[in-house]
Symmetry: C2
Subunit: 232 residues, 2 copies
Amino acid sequence: MAKAPDTPGPGPASERVRLRRKRERGSYDRVVLDAILDEGLVAHLGICGAGGQPIVIPVLHARSGDTVYCHGSAASRTLTALAGGSPACLTVTLLDGLVLARSVMHHSANYRSAMIFGTATEITDPREKTEALRAVVEHIVPGRWDHARSPTENELKATAVLALAIDEFSAKVRTGGPADDDEDYALEHWAGVIPLRTIPGAPEADPRLADGIAVPAHAAAYARPGSPLPRR
Amino acid sequence: MAKAPDTPGPGPASERVRLRRKRERGSYDRVVLDAILDEGLVAHLGICGAGGQPIVIPVLHARSGDTVYCHGSAASRTLTALAGGSPACLTVTLLDGLVLARSVMHHSANYRSAMIFGTATEITDPREKTEALRAVVEHIVPGRWDHARSPTENELKATAVLALAIDEFSAKVRTGGPADDDEDYALEHWAGVIPLRTIPGAPEADPRLADGIAVPAHAAAYARPGSPLPRR
């Protein structure tokens, strides 16, 4: 698991991404950020809608270099607003464990969270769009792209792909056991961590799959980076 | 897993939560919504900050009847803004599987997502605050509250607890295998689903735990509702 650096790392790119709370958990280090973006399967994308009403939707994403791509239907309200230049916030959170302390108030969670602020741009060039979709598919299931039919021109048109530059960002990481108040260590309550992992099950073949098509390695041996437990 | 109802369920509480995209996956049914809120461990809470910049933060939450509680530091910028009456959006997403289709563009994810729009109110009454915190702790680790020291008056003061009414909401659920274009079923690509589950590992005791304190059942037999796989 990524760890917040012990030595001071890079500073925030802007005041608005400077962490105020629990700063010791914070990081402006791209290595920490990228590991979270690359392991996470779901991102939560926020925009400000009409009347200052925030809208937070789950999206599939992928990082490619200094860019995060998200895709969705070209008709999506949220993606249309984003492509029109609305400021966005993309957050990816990995939950690594539940921290049970001796006191209720020191209960916590071990997690890694990445947050990017920016303005999305829509990818319109078909070749760039294809590369962005390849990044998303390969992010979700590494090795899959070459084992599926490529998008047609019309399919590309029906899909919106947005790019968000990794410029203003922060990451937060909590690891380790509970941190109780000194006087509470004498209490007889159990304290520790319940670790959590996202685990793939055995691949379930489509009932319409033709006979003789074997499960490919990218499905049979599926694993997330940073997910050390073997499949079940 | 919850399934979108086959028969028409209740309608949306307002136009702004009416689903536009993939409406066949949508639901305004509280049973579907509550199951997602109750199983999910992390919520993503969005507000609109200065200059129309959305901010999406991960929070621990709990549903209690028709209310969702979130807690955090009383000094948190985001929680302070929310308590001041900023509109909020709370989204909880559970990822159940990766859907591998014969064509790239029909790749998808099986998921359950709940979204609530509203304006948060801050809980200030100490008794109500304690009950809200109990709901959060019991949501995360059922059975834990009675095995930890209760909050003191000062601890309560240092914590902000927000309540969001479940009034305007929607849920989206995708289940099942890939849905390819008719002509693609003849392709020789494997297609199916890689199921995903969040699995607890064996509890890790705090190194400072006194001898003779056994792992309690709420940690040793920890499981999420809707998570059918046994612990590893």
